[in-house]
Amino acid sequence: MRYEFDISAIAPRAIVKLRGDPDAATRCLACAGLRAPLRANSIASHAGGDDVLWLGPRRWLVMAPNAREDELAGKLENAALREPMLAALRVSDMWAGFDLRGRGAPDVLAQATPLDLDATRFAHDAATFTDMFAVTALLRRAGNGFEIWCDRSLAQHITENLRVAAGQPDKS
């Protein structure tokens, strides 16, 4: 291995997508005891492991422990019923997540994404969609490492490329 780097699949998480009016999203999140981040492309973390990611002017993801999927999604979906311009959908099955660790993780990621991952530019609570090996993926910091979330149909494409980027033999 060229870089000190480890990648592992993240166990399924409860993920709910909110799309629509920002005020409606704030109200909806409040119904579930959550608050929206104040800065774009950042994460508001809550006790119990619930995170709200603000990923676009009208786009949020709520990520929570898998065991809470029904409870959390139920609250958000119910709240969204009262909001004509807000959709709240459980999309846990759409995503595949990977945990990236090791001192070489930034060097491996630099082969994947055009983002500037310097801590002054991509802060501890940062989260954003980015180009990654020609597809879109969600990148966020997680402790000393990173998490990548992508459409599950593209998981193999991204992980294989990351593996080879880290210096493992190319099997193709």
């Binding site: 060229r2 399924p12 959709a87 099955d93 759409m94 310097d118 149909s153 494409h157 190319d170």
Partner: protein, 984 residues
């Protein structure tokens, strides 16, 4: 010849304790650590390195860095690579290199016969010669004769390359005096700095010119400055790395050679930087004269490098030919190394400051004269010197080395590519210099036309500080060291020495074998603009990329046309400015990982059960067919299609595009998007719709379901999902922001297992469900939610096979379980997994249209026989007006028809043209699909044919390269025309 016969006993930046053996053209040589291949060859007295690109003339080493035009070699063995500059190749143990463009050897090259045919090969010869009987007859042998190296065959593959992104506040290009000062100034400010230098060692010309700073050898200052930089955590230094392209918005391309990472050969960087300081130095330009391309002729600065840096004498008796003061320092360094030197200055007067530089060194000075011609073939042994004005006698001067110095060209490639600087002519310096006009692009030192060392140091410091400040940091220019004396910058324009006799060759571009005669020919033939000259003659192209050639060509053209060089103008320096290996650009994104292929949750199951995967649009991989023992694609397809027609089949429909539309205006949006009506669709029901683009052409089709009062589930074709999503968002964000609708793509959230065939309901009942799937409760185009096989499911009665179908959607986590449960339950009904090939057969039989087949660019819904779907009540929908205008303009259209070949087993290729009578004339249509029908037990086809519907019953003729296939024109539905089976 004894080893290293031309090596000086002392001096240089080589380690005489570390001898290194290497092979060149099969012969064994030795050099020292610190040598380049070029310096080691010269130390061994090897000047003839290869042959030229076009005429196969003998060529030797002409430079000491990237300006090299003759020392181009092919690496052999594990390092196999073409177009490697011997001057840029560090000598390493076991290195093996060979000459290019010659066989069997550079000394005796059969290809040199090309020189006999020179008159047939002038500039642009391929536009006007070798035309009869046809260029293609000659092209293979001409192409074979041309070129420099061959593509490597090493098995290393692409593991040795990496591409990555990089970011910094200040990028400094060049670690010469200006670049080092710039990096120091910017680095001390705290800015993130990258210092990139393409030399094998840092310092630029400081050591090559044996300069002294603060009273000490330059190396001491270089070492101290690098130590300073190394102490700054915010500064990264890249040695032996080239910034080779400058693109928009401070996006630059860099290649890092021999990076400090195991197994890595080269690393390619895509840099996004806030500020750029280019301190890339300058290239000395030669003064072309007759046969100045012979081995033994090199740049004066190169000879000086070899003496000072590598302790090598490039010759024992040198003649330095110049038009400027700077060459006097080169001549002096050669003389100090023990080389006998004659200095020929084209100028009549030499400034006293320059004269002082050679005083007492025994150098003979000839002023007001030029070198008219070189003597010798594979190595020069003398030159003809004559008065510049032509008067007076010629004189032959014996020498084994000619050093030319025609002035300096700032390395302007980054300035030129940036579009943030323009080139202006500077008569005093006899060259073009860059004039930056951007706050984020700075130029310092020789790259700016400042050729004195003190000026370079000062400018570098100022540029580095300015760049850091512009990037938002507080910065001050550090104090520059004091420097020793140097010759002045006096120069008198001299672009080339014309040939005295017809037939003599004055080469201006050694890489491409372009002569002064070629430039004159281009002028005579009307290619006067400098961009035309470049393209017609190829001067400045290829490896050189204008480093030594461009300004000389511009000057020569200016002289021919009686203009000043600035009236001729400059060309743009292309990328890559230095040779870059394709592998470095490609990186590791190759093979199976090149394209982002998409997999469903069921892909592994499919593969494990014999599926051959095909791409099904947007890189989705779907089973094309499931091969059973002994089956090929045809047999498997027929078996699977027959299972659906007669019993039951199942397929993975997961890739189908899915979008949730929510909002009080969702129905209005659908009415706008589709040609048909949506407002009257009831919850729990679906409808097939066709979407046009603004040109009135087919964009997509699919079934949309109404989930409840203001929520719809829109399905797009697999391959159309992205464009449909973009289309909807454009409508909502740009054209109709008043519509209160939210759209959410959810394709991968759901897996889709579709069960189809006359026994499909039995299969669903067998697997178990709490949904009433009877025809009455769940009719065609209805949906219901509940459980199937105990798993959450949304079932839709939609069909694309011409048979009763149940599209069962479940959250993807349940995909494999649902699939396996249905597969097991369906066994007793003869269920078969079905691939896209069988689906294709089934949909052609049913007469269903498909994107990429019947639906291509110019087709509208009327052409497809679906005009009945167009709403009669809606005021408007996207594409309505365009479609009407087009049809009003030309009512004669290609229309969808069915086709039956007269020979019922004759398959024709999809896409085959239909022509009137099968003649070789313009087509009147094409075959859009052709399959072996299991329902009709014969070959059937669909096609688009001019006025097709009116011609049903007639015969159309498919024109193949080797046959004409008559086909009867029929209605485009072959199976279940009343859709009774679909609705079953």
């Amino acid at each position: 010849m004894s080893a290293n016969a031309y090596r000086l006993a002392t001096g240089g930046e080589i380690d005489r304790a570390q001898a290194i053996a290497f092979r060149f053209n099969g012969a064994e040589f030795s050099g020292f650590a610190g040598d380049t291949l070029a310096s080691a060859l010269l130390a061994n007295g090897v000047h003839l390195v290869g042959r030229s690109f076009k005429y196969h003339r003998p060529r030797g080493i002409t430079g000491a860095g990237f300006e090299e035009t003759g020392g181009i070699v092919q690496l052999a063995g594990a390092e196999d690579a073409p177009n490697v500059l011997a001057t840029r190749l560090a000598l390493t143990p076991g290195l093996e290199a060979n000459s290019v463009n010659c066989w069997p050897s550079p000394r005796f090259d059969l290809g040199a016969a090309a020189q006999l045919a020179q008159r047939l090969l002038p500039a642009g010869f391929y536009y006007k010669t070798f035309m009869w009987p046809g260029w293609k007859l000659f092209e293979p042998s001409i192409r074979k004769a041309a070129g420099l190296g061959r593509a490597p065959t090493r098995a290393e593959g692409h593991d040795g390359y990496e591409t990555r992104f990089g970011h910094c506040d200040v990028l400094v290009v060049g670690a010469g005096p200006a670049g080092l000062m710039a990096a120091l100034a910017a680095g001390r400010s705290g800015a993130r700095v990258m210092l990139v230098d393409d030399g094998l060692v840092p310092g630029g010309r400081l050591c090559a010119d044996a300069r002294r700073l603060d009273g000490k050898p330059a190396q001491a200052w270089i070492d101290a400055t690098l130590a300073d930089l190394a102490s700054l955590a915010n500064v990264r230094v890249f040695q032996d790395a080239s910034v080779w392209g400058y693109l928009e918005h401070n996006y630059l391309a860099m290649v890092e050679r021999r990076p400090d990472a195991p197994g890595l050969r080269q690393r390619s960087w895509k840099l996004r930087v806030a500020q750029v300081v280019t301190a890339a130095g300058a290239f000395e330009r030669p003064i072309p004269f007759v046969d100045s391309d012979r081995p033994g002729v090199m740049l004066a600065s190169a000879a000086r490098s070899y003496v000072n840096r590598h302790a090598v004498m490039p010759g024992r008796t040198a003649l330095v030919f110049t038009n400027n003061d700077g060459a006097y320092d080169s001549a002096a360094d050669l003389a100090r190394a023990g080389i006998g030197v004659t200095l020929v200055d084209a100028r009549r007067e030499t400034p006293p400051s320059a004269l002082a530089r050679i005083q007492g060194l025994g150098i003979e000075l000839i002023t007001g004269s030029v070198v008219r011609a070189a003597l010798g073939r594979s190595r020069i042994h003398g030159v003809v010197v004559a008065p510049r004005d032509g008067g007076g006698p010629e004189r032959i001067v014996s020498c084994d080395l000619v050093c030319t110095s025609g002035g300096w060209n700032p390395a302007m490639h980054l300035a030129s590519q940036s579009r943030e600087s323009r080139a202006i002519w500077d008569t005093a310096r006899a060259t073009f210099v860059p004039a930056p006009r951007s706050a984020r692009f700075h130029i310092a030192g020789a790259a700016r036309g400042t050729f004195d060392l003190a000026g370079c140091l000062r400018e570098g410091a100022e540029a580095g500080a300015a760049a850091a400040r512009a990037a938002g940091f507080e910065a001050m220019a550090p104090a520059a060291p004091t420097v020793d004396a140097e010759a002045g910058a006096g120069i008198e324009m001299l672009w080339f020495v014309p040939a005295a006799k017809r037939g003599q060759k004055v080469f201006v571009d050694l890489v491409n074998d372009v002569t002064i005669d070629d430039l004159a020919l281009a002028q005579r033939e009307g290619y006067e603009h400098i961009e035309h000259v470049k393209r017609y003659t190829t001067a400045g192209m290829g490896i050189d990329q204008g480093k030594t050639v461009n300004v000389t060509v511009i000057g020569a053209v200016a002289a021919m046309r009686g203009l000043k060089p600035d009236a001729v103008g400059t060309t743009t320096f292309r990328q890559p400015y230095v040779p870059v290996e394709f592998g470095a650009i490609a990186g590791h994104r190759m093979g199976d990982r090149l394209l982002p292929m998409r997999r469903t949750k069921l892909t592994a199951w499919h593969v494990a059960h014999g599926a051959v995967l095909f791409e099904a649009g947007l890189r989705w991989q779907r089973p094309g067919y499931y091969a059973q023992a002994g089956e090929g694609i045809v047999d498997a397809t027929i078996r699977e299609a027959r299972a659906v027609r007669e019993k039951a089949g199942m397929y993975d429909g997961s890739p189908l595009g899915k979008f949730l539309l929510k909002g009080p205006d969702a129905a209005k949006l659908l009415d706008l998007l589709y040609i048909n009506d949506w407002s009257n669709l009831k919850p729990g029901r679906g409808r097939y719709g066709i979407m046009l683009n603004e040109d009135g052409l087919f964009l997509d089709d699919g079934v949309t379901l109404r989930l409840n009062e203001d929520e719809y589930l829109l399905h797009s074709a697999t391959g159309a999902a992205d464009r449909v999503y973009a289309h909807i968002e454009e409508m909502l964000q740009v054209h109709c922001p008043h519509l209160r609708v939210v759209v959410v793509p959810i394709t991968s959230q759901w897996a889709n297992v579709t069960v189809c065939g006359p026994l499909s309901r039995d299969v669903v009942l067998k697997v178990g469900t709490d949904i009433d799937v009877s025809r009455a409760a769940l009719p065609f185009m209805a949906m219901a939610e509940g459980k199937i096989a105990g798993l959450p499911a949304r079932v839709m009665r939609v069909s694309w096979t011409g048979e009763m179908s149940f599209e069962i959607n479940t959250p993807s986590r349940h995909a494999v379980e649902l699939w396996e449960r249905i597969f097991a339950a369906g066994r007793e009904f003869g269920i078969a997994p079905v691939g896209s090939e069988a689906n294709h057969v089934l949909r052609v039989e049913a007469g269903y249209i498909s994107s990429g087949h019947e639906v291509d660019g110019p087709v509208d819904v009327h052409d497809l026989g679906l005009g009945w779907m167009v709403s009669k009540t809606k005021a408007d929908f996207i594409g309505k007006r365009s479609m009407a205008i087009r049809r009003a303009g030309n009512p004669i259209r290609r229309e969808l028809v069915g086709l039956l070949p007269e020979d019922p087993q004759r398959v024709v290729p999809e896409g085959a043209p239909i022509t009137p009578g099968g003649q070789r004339i313009d087509s009147e249509g094409f075959v859009s699909a052709c399959v072996r029908s299991v329902a009709l037990n014969r070959v059937i086809a669909l096609g688009l044919l001019t006025n097709g519907r009116a011609r049903i019953g007639e015969t159309a003729y498919v024109k193949l390269p080797d046959a004409v296939v008559p086909m009867r024109i029929v209605a485009p539905v072959f199976h279940d025309a009343d859709r009774a089976r679909v609705k079953g």
